[in-house]
């Protein structure tokens, strides 16, 4: 067992877990943060994506000990004080979420993408979300959600 310290969505947490336990399971089982999903457990689908020190990672591939001392953002930390984040708002309005399993990972991947490219081209959107599988939506609505979110964020930044 190892004691692992994490800053999750701004809060300090310590958990005592086997060092090789997947970060995904630490989040879902130990910390009850079930918004992070498991689609494959092998780094192929992006359902488990979180931001680790600002970088987009698949939490199913990260041993708990490796995450020690890092700062994490999960889907539960994306909205603030009960307000939807513009990205969430756009996924809602544009129909970017259907069954919803891929949605948390998609939203975090979008956040990461828009941090990098505030005005992403279609290619950049497709590239940026290429690690996230969706079996339901047909992707069109997801692209529209991302484009709309970029617009909204830029308008907000300019104001």
């Amino acid at each position: 067992m190892s004691l692992v310290h994490l800053t999750i969505n701004g809060e300090n947490k310590s958990v005592e877990v086997p060092p090789m336990k997947r970060l995904l399971d630490v989040l879902r089982e130990d910390l009850h943060l079930t918004g992070t999903k498991e689609g494959c457990g092998e780094g192929e689908c992006g359902a488990c994506a979180v931001l680790l020190n600002g970088e987009l990672v698949n939490s199913c591939l990260i041993p708990a000990l490796q995450a020690n001392g890092t700062s994490l953002c999960t889907i539960e930390g994306v909205s603030t004080e009960g307000h939807l984040h513009p990205i969430q708002q756009c996924f809602l309005e544009k129909g970017g979420a259907q069954c919803g399993i891929c949605t948390p990972g998609m939203i975090l991947a979008t956040q990461h993408l828009l941090n990098k490219y505030p005005n992403p081209t279609m290619e950049q959107i497709q590239e940026g979300l290429a690690g996230n599988l969706c079996r339901c939506t047909g992707y069109m609505r997801i692209f529209e959600s991302v484009q709309e979110a970029a617009k909204l964020q830029n308008a907000g930044a300019g104001a």
């Binding site: 092998e42 919803g100 599988l133 047909g138 992707y139 069109m140």
Partner: protein, 746 residues
């Protein structure tokens, strides 16, 4: 109270966005495997499914000593110690032939053969690796294409007969000027919803509770009761939201009762979630089909005879028929049809319903043959379909409840720019790619079953609606809210919806695109009853402005009951319920297909057009554009409806280019049992998709005029892509998926 079928319903006010949308974009909504109540979370045990590693034979022994001593292990279930059950014969869709550790036989590679239960998933998994299983292997039946001679008629073909003739096909072929005769193949596919199957089970004395990821809570409830030999009333199934199903969660598979058995033995709540690789066998898949198709037409394109003989793989455990021959029976008006569907047994998991069972592979193969026929006739492919347009249902010789497919061809062709197509292959290119256009017809039967619903008027003029149906991401919550609101004329945002709980009134399996077509009429009935009750309440209430009126004079709109003869005389629902001591008023409703349903056929339609670019060197195919127009009756919600159709189209593209389970020819295991190896499209694979619907209500089908939309998107799309690839390259690939190597070698 049913309205006359022909009277057009008032348009239903749509919700702006998905009912449960906020809880999805914030990650708050809980899926079946995520609950940690009402049991004590610290009691929860984790189960791991152990699978066979041979395709056929017997388990001689399982050496479990090391596993038993492994840290955290609570119990291990094997065929040698599992409690004996009285297994009932399969009854699809709910109950299938399962592997519940009742004997030592192995019927496929990957079959569940043990369950390890431990305090944590890691501990269960590492103990499972310590089990030493000794087998006595038997020769296995593997493969389909090399074993066609073994084909036999299915024991139980399901709803449709396995063989069917109409008219004299041989006579038709002998008169034909043009004949197309080829073999077309579709592969084994697996559903792969993004949420893996999973169950949490716990017992409350003799009573069993489960959270289960399912498309059919009523089916799971009944199947669990039957399998474990307990009264149905003792089983409670909950699943508020499903992370996709596509047919794989329409049946109860082995892991569900195994989880319940583990919970009974340990006396603790047990969670069993399948790993992705465990979803290639134990929870079904679409069988591979080999289709011999023959079409005969006169010089003007009239079909004189159509023949399709299908051979598919089926598990040695259970016959399941993928009716790929369906479209050959009813898609076009031919003078004669002859079809058959036979199976070849294999040591594989049980095959099952997968998005648009029958019509997905059926249109994928028939619509290539039609393209070939058009080419041979030197006729435009759309024109060929119009020449053979079926104004009535040829398979049952009866009218359609509604069919506007001609408008679909027209509208989609215009939007696509089909008139610019050059029929000669390799006549269009862009940079280093050949460009091709192709089209195909989409179709799927409209289904409907009996369903029940409950509604309540709540304090503050709010409403509750409940039904024991499911939401697979399809938008059931949303359209239930809309339908309930429309019944009382209130805003749909004022409606609270509950589904996915077996204590609610019963509804059918969410499969075959029938949920909305079944559940909404039940809600409509329930709200009619509720309106009558509320009217009576107002009439009897001396304080109501409507006091003393007649029930039939009262209607509801904008949150009020009002006098039809004097609309300004009204009572708000809020006031009415407040004077009732804020006691909710409740009504139930039900609906089932009319007795006259066998007098007509109901089917959805569509036209799909595709543009592809095929790289001249790598032969990689990019689907640049899909344009599709559908005739699906009333579109209930623009956002969720278009989403479903587009999702189906992406499945069609995936069918055309990517999906295939490869079976090891010696070990019989799916070789590519992961999302890295079993290819489904990622977003970068998709160009633009333009979907439109005619939105013409089909009121002869049901009182809301809406046929289902979950399946039709996948139909037709695969062939439209295949035909576009031919137009681009001049290479006719008749075996899906159409991968670059096949194009290169053709």
């Amino acid at each position: 109270m049913m309205q006359a079928a022909e009277k057009a319903p008032k348009p239903v006010k749509q919700l702006d966005h998905r009912y449960e949308g906020i809880s999805k974009v914030t990650g708050k909504i809980k899926y079946a495997g995520e609950f940690s109540e009402p049991f004590a979370k610290s009691d929860l045990l984790y189960a791991y499914l152990v699978q066979s590693t041979i395709p056929s034979g017997d388990i001689v022994s399982i050496d479990r000593a090391a596993a038993d001593n492994s840290a955290g292990v609570v119990t291990i279930l094997t065929p040698f110690n599992a409690p004996k059950l009285s297994q009932a014969p399969p009854q699809p869709p709910a109950r299938r032939n399962l592997s519940l550790l009742q004997d030592t036989s192995v019927s496929y590679n990957g079959q569940p053969i043990a369950v390890v239960v431990a305090r944590s998933l890691d501990e269960a998994k590492s103990a499972a690796a310590l089990l030493k299983v000794k087998y006595a292997p038997k020769p296995a039946k593997i493969g389909l294409k090399n074993r066609l001679a073994e084909a036999r008629w299915p024991k139980d073909p399901g709803k449709e007969p396995a063989g069917n003739h109409r008219g004299d096909a041989q006579a038709g072929f002998s008169k034909a000027t043009v004949i197309i005769e080829n073999t077309y193949i579709t592969p084994i596919q697996h559903h792969n919803p993004m949420e893996p199957h999973g169950t949490i089970a716990w017992w409350d004395g003799p009573k069993l509770n489960v959270y289960d990821s399912t498309q059919y809570i009523t089916g799971v409830r009944q199947s669990l009761a039957k399998t474990l030999n307990i009264p149905v009333d003792f089983v409670h199934v909950v699943d508020p939201v499903v992370g996709g199903g596509f047919g794989s969660k329409g049946s109860m598979w082995s892991h569900v009762p195994l989880c319940a058995m583990a919970a009974r033995i340990t006396g603790k709540p047990v969670k069993l979630i399948l790993e992705r690789e465990q979803m290639f066998g134990p929870v079904g898949g679409r069988p591979s089909t080999v289709n011999k198709i023959k079409l005969g037409a006169s010089a003007d394109g009239k079909l004189l005879a159509m023949q399709q003989d299908v051979v598919m793989n089926a598990s040695v455990m259970e016959d399941f028929v993928e009716h790929a021959e369906g479209p050959t029976k009813n898609l076009y008006m031919s003078s004669a049809n002859s079809v058959s569907a036979k199976i070849v047994e294999a040591n594989l998991g049980v095959s099952t319903f997968m998005r648009a069972p029958g019509e997905a592979p059926g249109t994928a193969v028939l619509e290539i043959a039609m393209d070939e026929l058009a080419e041979k006739l030197n006729m435009d492919p759309v024109q060929l379909r119009l020449v053979n347009y079926a104004e009535t249902d040829p398979s049952h010789d009866r009218p359609w409840t509604s069919k506007n497919l001609k408008d679909c061809y027209q509208q989609a062709a215009d939007r696509f720019g089909w008139s610019k197509r050059n029929a000669t292959p390799r006549s269009m290119s862009d940079g280093n790619a050949w460009i091709g256009y192709g089209m195909a017809t989409a179709t799927y039967p409209a289904n409907r079953s009996a369903a029940m619903a409950i509604v309540r008027l709540l304090p503050g003029g709010r409403m509750f609606v409940g039904s024991g149906t499911q939401d697979l991401g399809t938008g059931t919550y949303t359209i239930m809210a809309q339908q309930a609101a429309a019944g009382l004329g209130i805003d749909p945002t004022l409606v609270e919806v509950k589904l996915g709980d077996s204590t609610l009134p019963k509804a059918p399996v969410s499969g075959g695109s029938q949920s909305s077509a079944s559940v909404l009429p039940a809600i409509q009935d329930a709200t009619s009853q509720l309106k009558l009750k509320l009217a009576d309440l107002a009439i009897a209430d001396a304080a109501s402005p409507l006091h003393g009126l007649k029930t039939l004079d009262i209607d509801a709109k904008d949150g009020k009951l009002f006098n039809r003869n004097n609309p300004t005389q009204s009572d708000t629902l809020t006031d009415l319920i407040a004077r009732n001591g804020n006691k909710p008023v409740e009504a139930t409703g039900s609906a089932e297909p009319a007795e006259s349903k066998d007098a007509m056929s109901s089917q959805s339609w569509g036209a799909v057009f595709a543009e592809v670019a095929v790289d001249k060197d790598t032969h990689m195919v990019k689907v640049r554009r899909i344009v599709a127009t559908y005739d699906i009756g009333t579109l209930l919600n623009q956002k969720t409806g278009h989403n479903q159709l587009m999702g189906g189209i992406v499945w069609g593209i995936s069918f055309a280019l990517h999906e295939e389970a490869h079976i090891d020819s010696v070990y019989g295991r799916v070789v590519n049992e992961s999302l890295a190896e079993y290819h489904v499209p990622v977003n970068a694979d998709i160009g633009t998709i333009d979907v439109s619907t005619l939105n013409i209500p089909d009121l002869k089908f049901n009182p809301i005029g809406s046929r289902g939309i979950g399946e039709i998107g996948i139909t037709g799309t695969a062939a439209a892509v295949a035909n576009a690839i031919y137009n681009a390259t001049g290479k006719r690939i008749r075996e899906y998926p159409i991968t670059p190597d096949k194009i290169m070698l053709a």
